[in-house]
């Protein structure tokens, strides 16, 4: 019975440890499905630079959307998926945003924090699991509370690093989108 509780908790943890808190099944409207944005025709004449900038943004600007523990990197109004990041996924975000030096710096930070968070979070899950199993099999074992507490701490610490990482990813895309067409 305890193992069922643990499985349920794991599902819950995976829900929150993912990128959701920095940003699935898509019930929401995609940018493409949202009410049509002012088309280039609607842009006041005499502003070709702004029009070009908007067109460039429409086709090149990046964002990410979470998807149960990983995140799809999407480009443009159509939301074309150009990559996926997540636990131990090695997509090179820095190369994707190479056109913007500040974005590259944030992308590298994302890479570091994502790896660290994945590693520590995974170790925490394994430790927590071990503690639960030990507690289920021998209730008097003194190691079980230590393992459970250490595991929960590892999960929390890993989740924190993942959160910091996805915040860096958000900034990376912000800088990249800002530098588009400059």
């Amino acid at each position: 019975m305890k193992s069922r509780l643990f499985a349920a908790l794991l599902v819950g943890a995976s829900t929150f440890a993912g990128p959701s808190y920095a940003q699935a099944t898509r019930h929401g409207t995609s940018p493409a499905a949202a009410p049509k944005e002012p088309s280039p025709v609607a842009v006041p004449s005499g502003k070709p630079a702004a029009e070009d900038s908007t067109r460039f943004y429409d086709s090149q600007a990046l964002r990410f959307e979470s998807r149960w523990g990983s995140a799809d990197i999407k480009r443009g109004v159509d939301g074309t998926v150009v990559g996926r990041v997540g636990w131990f996924r090695g997509f090179d975000v820095a190369a994707l945003v190479a056109a913007s030096p500040r974005a590259v710096a944030e992308a590298r930070r994302f890479h570091t924090e994502n790896f660290r968070g994945s590693l520590v979070g995974s170790a925490g899950v394994v430790t927590f699991l071990t503690g639960i199993v030990v507690a289920s099999n021998s209730s008097n074992n003194a190691a079980s509370p230590i393992l459970i507490i250490a595991g929960a701490g590892g999960i929390a610490w890993g989740a924190h690093h993942l959160q910091v990482g996805y915040s860096a990813l958000s900034r990376a895309f912000w800088w990249y989108n800002r530098d588009l067409s400059r």
Binding site: M1, K2, R4, L5, A7, A8, L9, V11, G12, T15, F16, G18, S20, Y21, A22, Q23, A24, T25, R26, H27, G28, T29, S30, P31, A34, P35, K36, E37, P38, V43, K47, A50, S53, T54, Y57, D58, A61, R63, F64, E65, S66, R67, W68, H160, Q163, V164, Y166, S167, S170, R171, W174, N177, R178
Partner: protein
């Protein structure tokens, strides 16, 4: 949009001025914040629709799993009750998590549209 211990901060500009936080029991009106962009407002409303139910369902799921743990400590408890609590708790947690994820994705799209329409 930056995460900070369960809260989301919406920050503006290169300096990262904090415009507001979105947490479990509080939050700024994102639709009002992005009102200058119509598509962004649509997405912000989608965020508002999914965020509160998602948060409540996740909280309910956690409470149900807590209740399961308490009930499972009682001897000779009906297995149907404990199984039901686990299924209800997990289901609520997963469904609520999905709604929350949809909410945050809508928020990301909303800010994307808002930033895009700033260029007009």
């Amino acid at each position: 949009m930056e995460g900070r211990f369960g809260d989301i901060q919406i920050v503006r500009g290169a300096e990262g001025t904090i415009l507001g936080k979105i947490g479990i029991f509080r939050g700024i009106d994102v639709a009002q914040l992005v009102a200058s962009s119509e598509p962004a407002t649509v997405e912000a409303r989608q965020f508002a629709r999914d965020y509160r139910p998602g948060t409540l369902l996740v909280a309910l799921g956690l409470a149900t799993l807590g209740a399961y743990y308490g009930v499972s400590q009682i001897h000779d408890v009906n297995r149907l009750i404990t199984t039901g609590l686990v299924i209800a708790g997990t289901g609520s947690l997963v469904y609520g998590g999905g709604r929350l994820q949809n909410a945050y994705n809508a928020l990301a799209r909303s800010l994307w549209w808002y930033n895009r329409d700033l260029r007009h």
